[in-house]
């Protein structure tokens, strides 16, 4: 059974009392209980089941401007005391850092709206297996799918409390249901190719239909069969949605408070500067109802609101927690836990229209390796895709994409097909110039 709010609150309060008693002038405690149940199926047969029940405690103690932290899985109060004492001993040894402090009380979340992040429904292992069997039956009915590499269904429920010695005591429950399948395609004597599809929802009833999961993954794996190699050239690139979302990933790692303070971002001096074309807007909205990635407040208890990261192509906001916002002389925007639901506003052109950009182009369907380096601004990764020439197209693999991240930002053209599926969401994106394909 998921631990009730009261029990977590009691534990958090206990930790604050002990920390204060042992000498902390301030402290922050996070307590979380996660119960997760997964079933894996492979080639229509159960492969494993896994049940996890973890109660974890995370404490940060302050002695004036000194700070240290400890994490542990809860065993008993005696062990908790030992860990807190150890943490206090360490805190005493550290140098002062004038920016260390609990969050500004005025910014803490109060009376937050219910974002509908918890579904009481449960699905037992038998029902999970039924679902997965239908996924694999559907996938394997495609003659080009030779086997499955595993399909899984997970139910995860969590309850979380953040408390501090300024009187903060807030928390919320979350549920997540997710399904996944990974398929292997093979055609005659060709090599094997694999691809996957997944879905994740807060409410059980919203999870993708098993037939759709199986069919979607099968289509993705099959279209990779019999790949050709491609030559080294500069050519227009279209990123599919599941790849283009990584553009937001690289942006978000380059606009953290820490990377600005530490000068480790290639965008360090770009706040309030143009970094995308004028028609580009990027938003982070933690308050979308029923989204797995939503949060009423961050892990410090600071309220998080909808915010423009980029407006009319200009970088307007960066990701701030209490510590880095103080150094930068700003206010925390409730992003100590990072971004939530981040998205590009949809573009104007249709998906088909993007393909009219030239005589030939490559649609990127998969990449390997880091999608760019947020410190140097260099971009290089391995890629798989579909080569489009005038009247025909064919799969290509084993090539690289190279360039600079700013080439992608400056040249991006978005389709009008935005959908919310991941924590980062981007329409299909065309990069007409600036990327080099490395092949034979």
């Amino acid at each position: 059974m998921l631990k009730e709010k009261k029990e977590l609150e009691n534990l958090a309060t206990y930790c604050i009392d002990k920390s204060t008693k042992f000498g902390a002038t301030n402290c922050e405690v996070r307590v979380g209980n996660i119960i997760s149940e997964t079933v894996n199926l492979r080639n229509k047969k159960i492969e494993n089941s896994d049940r996890s029940d973890i109660l974890s405690v995370n404490i940060t103690t302050y002695i004036d401007k000194k700070k240290s932290s400890t994490q542990f899985t809860y065993i008993d109060n005696k062990n908790t005391n030992v860990m807190i004492e150890k943490c206090i001993e360490a805190t005493k040894l550290l140098p002062d850092d004038k920016f260390n402090s609990l969050p500004d009380k005025k910014l803490l979340a109060k009376n937050t709206e219910d974002l509908l992040l918890f579904d009481k429904s449960t699905i037992n292992n038998e029902k999970k297996l039924e679902y997965l069997k239908e996924v694999e039956d559907t996938a394997l009915s495609n003659k080009l799918i030779s086997q499955t590499n595993g399909s899984s269904f997970n139910q995860s429920k969590s309850n979380f409390i953040v408390a501090n010695s300024d009187g903060l005591l807030s928390g919320y429950k979350k549920s997540e249901f997710s399904s996944f399948t990974d398929l292997v395609a093979k055609k005659n004597s060709s090599g094997m190719e694999r691809d996957y599809y997944y879905d994740s929802k807060v409410y059980l009833k919203d999870i993708i239909k098993p037939k759709d999961l199986g069919n979607n993954a099968a289509k993705l794996a099959v279209r990779k069969l019999n790949p050709k190699k491609t030559k080294t050239e500069s050519i227009p690139i279209i990123f599919e949605k599941r790849i283009s979302k990584n553009i937001l990933g690289i942006l978000s790692s380059a606009i953290t408070g820490s990377s600005f303070v530490r000068s480790s971002s290639f965008l360090k001096n770009k706040l309030n500067n143009q970094i995308f074309p004028k028609n580009i807007n990027i938003i982070d909205d933690p308050l979308i109802k029923k989204s797995t990635y939503s949060m009423p407040f961050d892990k410090e208890g600071v309220k998080s609101d909808k915010m423009y990261l980029v407006k009319n192509g200009i970088l307007k906001n960066i990701i701030l927690d209490s510590y880095y916002s103080k150094i930068l002389n700003k206010k925390s925007n409730g992003r100590a836990s990072g971004l939530s639901n981040t998205f590009f506003e949809a573009g104007k052109r249709s998906y088909e229209d993007l393909f009219n950009c030239g005589k030939k182009l490559i649609l990127i369907t998969d990449t390997m390796g880091a999608f760019g380096n947020p410190t140097t601004g260099e971009f290089s990764c391995g890629a798989t895709g579909i080569y489009y020439e005038k009247d025909f197209f064919y799969p290509v693999n084993n090539f690289t994409l190279g360039g600079k991240i700013e080439n992608i930002f400056n040249n991006i053209i978005l389709a009008n097909d935005l959908e919310f599926k991941y924590s980062q969401n981007c329409p299909t994106a065309l990069i007409v110039e600036g990327l080099v394909v490395g092949g034979y």
Binding site: S69, Q71, N125, Q147, G191, N398, T400, V436
Partner: protein
Amino acid sequence: MSDFFEKTDLTRANAEKIIDETLLNKDDGELYLQNSINENITLDDGKIKNTNFTKTYGMGFRGVCEDVTAYCHTNSINKNSLIDASKNINSTLRSFKSYKHNNSIRRTNEKLYSDHNPIEAKSLKEKIKLLNIVDQYLRSKSNLVKQVTASISTEKKNIEIIKTGGMTLSDNQPLTSFKISLIMKKGTKNTQGSYATGGRMTFNDYIGENNWKQVCDEAFRQAEMNLDARKAPAGEMDVVLNNGWSGVLLHEALGHTLEGDFLYKKTSVFHDQIGNKIGNENITVVDEGNIFGRRGSLNMDDEGEKTQRNILIKNGKLIKFMHDRLSAKLTKNTPTGNGRRENYMFAPMPRMTNTFMMNGKNTREEMIKSVKKGIYVDALGGGSVDIVSGQFNFSVNNAWLIENGKLVMPVEGATLIGSGPEVIKKIEMIGNDLKLDNGFGTCGKSGQLVPVGLGIPSCKVLMTVGGSKT
């Protein structure tokens, strides 16, 4: 030995009884108990940012029938949680009527590391002082150094495995790691360098009087070299890899595809190639979990099996895969000591330990001399592989452009890609300078991270380089 039964209503005798009742009618399984403490101290931006203690404590109970695994884990070690876990396992595996219980295990008394606690080797105060000295040392090397991150991480992991019949195996696994990364800036250009050292020997073996300086010097060298680097070329070309950490090529391109779970699932590109020649005569690849003191070494794996030297590829011929108990059983092989897990929250699976290629005959100079146009890779980054298609990639931190047998200038921003079965055929020259890495490899598979070792002699191979210069 850590006494897991001290603080709970579960006695050892109770636990053994529940284990027997649950597992004697299954093919395999065990109760895995873990108690580890990790201390991490990080200096960043000129100050000690945080000190952090993490305690990982809990148990994982596993039952296996044929190819089906039931696994339950929790951080509360007590009678009720073990009974619940037992019920859960029985429920998942209830359809199996026949079983072949096997609890035999290959044991050893060999000790690859002593039972010490690296966290206590130095006081917190001394460690903080050392990190401050490191910061000053790096910043004094050049005023272009804009940022230094240095960390000391020490861990003591106690594990105990209880099988049926009260069979108990335990190990205390120390691990130390010292990492440096720095950023240099010249004009508008940022460059990075990073290096580390570590393993299972004592704290002073890695972070003693002056050996920390070597780690700093190497990180500095990498960042400084890229200040004047040009765009890397793109396309297929000769690549000369330096010895040591370049073994990540081997790890990604070949190592993962030789893990036993991909053999019984028939998803490895090499699943039907055992006994076949897959590369040239000079290539011999070994995974060895019982090298003294190394980061990837273990006295026993996470199923209690002794670790050993496994020759995977000999003179180009594929000899064997790496196995845990499950993949060994399903493919009628013996376990190879490669059953590993990150912690009690995971069931074990076949993983690498220390993986390396044996020496060839060439020198690195000969290799560079033989290249008309290509790159010499001085420092590789990390990589990944798709074991089904065999395609792999990794990032290059530092490289030189080679033209007409000479190193011309540093180049940056490259990725190396290829496919395992192809690249092993395209290794043209192998050096006589095998070196194991400095002890900082961490391998991820299905969401589990484990420390590993890598090694390779210098070698020359035809590969695709992903730069941005056509």
